[in-house]
Symmetry: D2
Subunit: 388 residues, 4 copies
């Protein structure tokens, strides 16, 4: 029941925009998309340098003639092929997300886009509109939303396991940029610390959108107001590397969010604690297979991935009974769910399409960033989020 | 070397104001003060009902004639005895701290006062002034500052083990008041949810002052500005039960503080993470014997209480080599350090008097509360802390 | 309800045999016995050197004339006093336990004895017999049996929370003697590595008896057979420092026990996992306030000390609601329970006398050591334990 | 540097023997082999029922004509194809491992075999001999040996980070078979509890060989003698489900191993603690990204996967910088290393071929099982392991 066989109809051809030599996230996208034979990489624009892009394409088994120089070229050729790619994954600097996505969707190609969706809410609204008009899937790469226990947390909150949500603590505290980034740093480090390429808030675009989505995904609530301090703790940095934000939710709940790329000594501590009237749920990406639930009477539970009492969606997300799952398993679930959106045949036998992070989520994410930036500029004053 | 023998000169007589039947914190004060024979309970005002106070006094071995009806009476009689108490511990509702402390100090009796020091900064300033003028010890019962690994954290920061402090996360997230407090609740619960007895912020007075002191104790920094949201998440509650606060420090560091008594399912999660330019230090009261240090290169250390490389102050604070220590051990260290302030004879053989939480800390604590209350009333606007 | 007021009738006078200068365990005995005013140290034989013993006695407030040179002298003088000590705590090298206990009990003094009870099962049987004939309390200092969550584990097993016990893993893995012990080592290290003073198995006497008792205390089962390897992993050591033992229980369950003083890098990792047909319970002294219960369906619970659903005996053992407890709190519970055995008046208002580690436990402990030594000498052959 | 691009030369065609409908381990083999495009599933004998085997083959994209009825048929056809499979993965009941492997190797096909290698040491010796004579790779599916931190542990021991190894604790404590297995259970559960299909020791074949290999892999030592108790704790079971074993190593070290499939409430707790003269290293599969190192002076370190100070082999094994890795990542490393053994071209640019679990390891594993069975039958007497 929990298994999903790809079948002949699958091995959906897909392309990548970016993700070439030296891109770690590119590797994970490929591994995730191709796990279980759901997608197969067939084309790409792997570099802004066409020669280098072709070289890379060969290392990952893409035919030379399907390694393109530009997104336009890819769209032109692939949309003319009977076996052309149906999905393209965008793994470029933030400022290029929207232009690439626009071009792809106008060519009828579904999109899996790295976060943040764009560099402004206005761009995001436009992309959402294009996707809607053309009936295309626009997915955001919020990979952790593929973890079984994140699904379980969402299901538990929805079932009222902790009562009405009243308070929340969430953070994405990474240490990757704790030291100054030199000019000879990796490309990913360079553009993330370049305001022109990173967007209005580097740290919120890169990490904050993840925890913003996780918060909404698990609680089912929207954040309506923020009081924020965006700052940089590494001397000489011209983008923000740290955001400290007070939250107000649409149901009256309160909360705090901490986002940083400069927590010296940290890995990628993404985590959330949701407090309800009768208990709490906590999840941390470092131990993704475990969910801690505490009840108001002091009793506590550990829910693990591989137990029979889990929700259907958590059970569907489980890939390795009894062995540890990791980021790539979660990410593969996200791609598999996207495939089900693309593939009506397989969908037929399912009760319903799985929820995926989409363009509406992206619009909320960009609105969140813009409100946080405004609040920080205005002495941490409470600032409303425009929403969708 | 690490042991401290009380000796004949010790068993310093002390009294308690409050802490009678049903008081859990009273038990810990007595156990801590008397551990190792440092202090001995000889007098007290154990209840506002003199008869009940005497009854309680007998259960803890206090002579009937030294169980007094009022603080005034206690001062009058004890200051006339050759063997009268030298210290009195105040364990009453917050609003009574300052009046009791004033009366005691005017009678020449040293004070160990539960937090918050008072219900206003002005009161705290006055008490500090009295203590200064009379050369009396005024100690605040920030018990966790007696934990060995809190001392180790302080020593490590001072030694530069994590470089300049740049960011901080601290919380005291208790779940004790997650449900509405009924009229038949315990006395401690009733006065903590009564604005008249709890002071301007119940949650900051009761728990926030602890984490405020811990922050300053470990980092050696002062918090200069706050942007705060004080709120109540339990319906019908007339005091705040939750505070979410953004922090600015005097060295430019940023931070967040979360304080609540309504985190359903929590015990008493007091904890702190201090980030420096080259690493971080984390401590949590739930596992008090462990300190986690992470370095910017990704390596990490666990420091335990019982290791030879610890600082002198951490080593001095160690009581049980090889076995778990708890709250009472930490608290006993605090009392022992107070004894050393009272006892010049024993001090003679020490390099220096140990640092204890004192009246100046209390003034800062009250100023912090007042600034947080003001910020919250003013839309989370950044608000300066008056300091001492 | 959970509080136990010592009252006037308490402050039971007690003595110590050993536990003078440099003795860490002596400090814990004094702190534990005197916590809450249950016992009061009034006499002792603190050293084999009478002058040094007197000097030490003064540092802990014992009158000079009640610091004795020998156990005989103590018995003689104290039994003649109306206010003479009623209990004596034995904290000497193992080989002296039985002679001291015999003398004390023959003088009508109750005994709290450090483990192992003796250096042979025969000695232990004799002491049990004396205690029985004279109606005296003979308590063994298995301090961890005072932890609230050890009581909770015992209660859960008894209630059938994990079904019939089928398998067990227990260990006491200390690292204190990982390096060779030089001639200038502390006294405690010297006698523990001297076969003449330590008894037939140093590691089982010092640590193995603890885990042996813990196993029996929690499960209510007896170990009936062992297959053992006793060895020394530190070169040149003339006592065993490590024991690896397979276990068979009287109900057919199987198990393993690991005991060592030479686990380089360890503190004092005492822990147990008990597996039943329907689940398991795990406790570790390093995190004494937590009990982990896992069920056969994969669900799991964390039980903490301070929750309302705990058993009566766990609740009775709780001293610090909401704050971490440590070794001294557990140890104080043991002394308090001994006091209740001594004190019929206070017992009157209790449902029943609490269980304490006693002479029968000590006989089983010595029989266990003797069987393990025999098995190890006989090629790990399964060897029956004589029992009581 | 840490990345390994598959390139055109890869996508090595491979087959599976077993691993069809309902096989969880089959899914992981396919995901692991195909990650990064290293292998590609092209043929198989997916079921003993040829029709069902073909049906399954289609769901995973294998051409109908390459879904065979028997291993013989597969060898016959595939060895005749220019693009025939070069490797076959054996995922059948234990008793079929050796016959399948023999047939495959005699047809010139390399083998990846699930553990245990065979059902007797004699069979294993024969397979090793065939592999040697024909110059074929015979790999054992000890997947956890692909975890980065297992490689790091091995490197640290080899570097002397904990000194000479003196003591070891290892376990594989699974709870999957804690309840009686009914006749309608899954196929994997049925054959694992059928002595005819499982071999001389079900629990040691299925789980014990894993921890046996892990022990040898990390320490570089051989186990030379065992004293064992093999038993069944679930009533009515006709295979052993639990093994408790004392160990002696070739360097004089001692140790204990605990293996069970009936630890009610457990997942798959595979773990090891290695003690040296100057410290210890601990790894647990439940938190595979972390290694704990404790030193004899009490200091401790946490090594994480993503740090620069790790060994080359640990760094090579890292796939997701900053995000959690899981079982499939480790398993994919194992397949990638096998590919390097098959592929001299890619090997050319490497310093040396990576170590993989091979036929010699399998022979040791079977000898270990046979010695444990003999010891258990002989009252836990110390029994020598025949070795290779």
């Amino acid at each position: 029941m929990t298994q999903y066989y790809a079948g002949k109809a699958h091995r959906i051809p897909f392309a990548m925009i970016g993700g070439g030599f030296g891109s770690a996230v590119g590797v994970s996208h490929r591994d995730a998309a191709q796990m279980g034979g759901v997608f197969e990489l067939q084309a790409g624009v792997f570099s802004s340098d066409p020669k280098r892009g072709r070289e890379f394409g060969e290392t990952v088994g893409v035919a030379s003639q399907r390694c393109y120089a530009t997104v336009q070229e890819l769209v032109q050729h692939e949309s003319g092929r009977k076996d052309g790619v149906r999905l393209a994954t965008i793994v470029t600097p933030n400022a290029l997300h929207a232009p690439a996505a626009r071009t792809l969707m106008e060519g009828g190609i579904h999109v899996m886009c790295e976060k943040p969706m764009a560099i402004s809410r206005a761009e995001a609204v436009e992309l959402r509109s294009i996707a809607g008009q053309r009936g295309l899937v626009f997915a955001l790469a919020h990979a952790y939303s593929g973890y079984a226990m994140v699904h379980e947390a969402r299901a538990l909150v929805a079932q009222g396991a902790i009562g009405r949500v009243v308070m929340l603590q969430a953070q994405y505290a990474s240490g990757w940029a704790s030291l100054p980034i030199g000019k000879d740093a990796k490309r990913g480090a360079l553009w993330r610390t370049d305001p022109a390429q990173a967007g209005p808030s580097s740290v919120l675009g890169d990490l904050g959108t993840h925890v913003h989505h996780l918060t909404r995904f698990i609680t089912g609530l929207e954040i309506t107001e923020v009081a924020a301090e965006l700052t940089s703790i590494v001397p000489g940095r011209t983008v923000d590397d740290t955001a400290e934000i007070l939250l107000r939710f649409d149901n009256g709940a309160c909360g705090m969010m901490w986002v940083t790329m400069a927590a010296a000594g940290n890995g990628n501590e993404l985590g959330i604690k949701v407090f309800g009237e009768s208990g709490q749920i906590a999840w941390e990406q470092e131990t993704p297979d475990i969910l801690t639930i505490r009840h108001v009477d002091g009793t506590a539970e550990l829910r693990r991935r591989a137990i029979v009492t889990n929700s259907v969606s958590a059970t569907m997300a489980r890939r390795r009974p009894g062995q540890p799952e990791g980021f790539v398993d979660a990410f593969a679930n996200l791609y598999r769910n996207v495939a089900r959106h693309l593939d009506t045949q397989s969908t037929a036998c399912m009760d319903a399409l799985p929820v995926i992070p989409d363009a509406r989520d992206g619009v909320f994410g960009m609105a969140f960033i813009e409100a946080a930036v405004a609040s920080s500029s205005n002495g941490a004053a409470w600032t409303k989020i425009q929403g969708d």
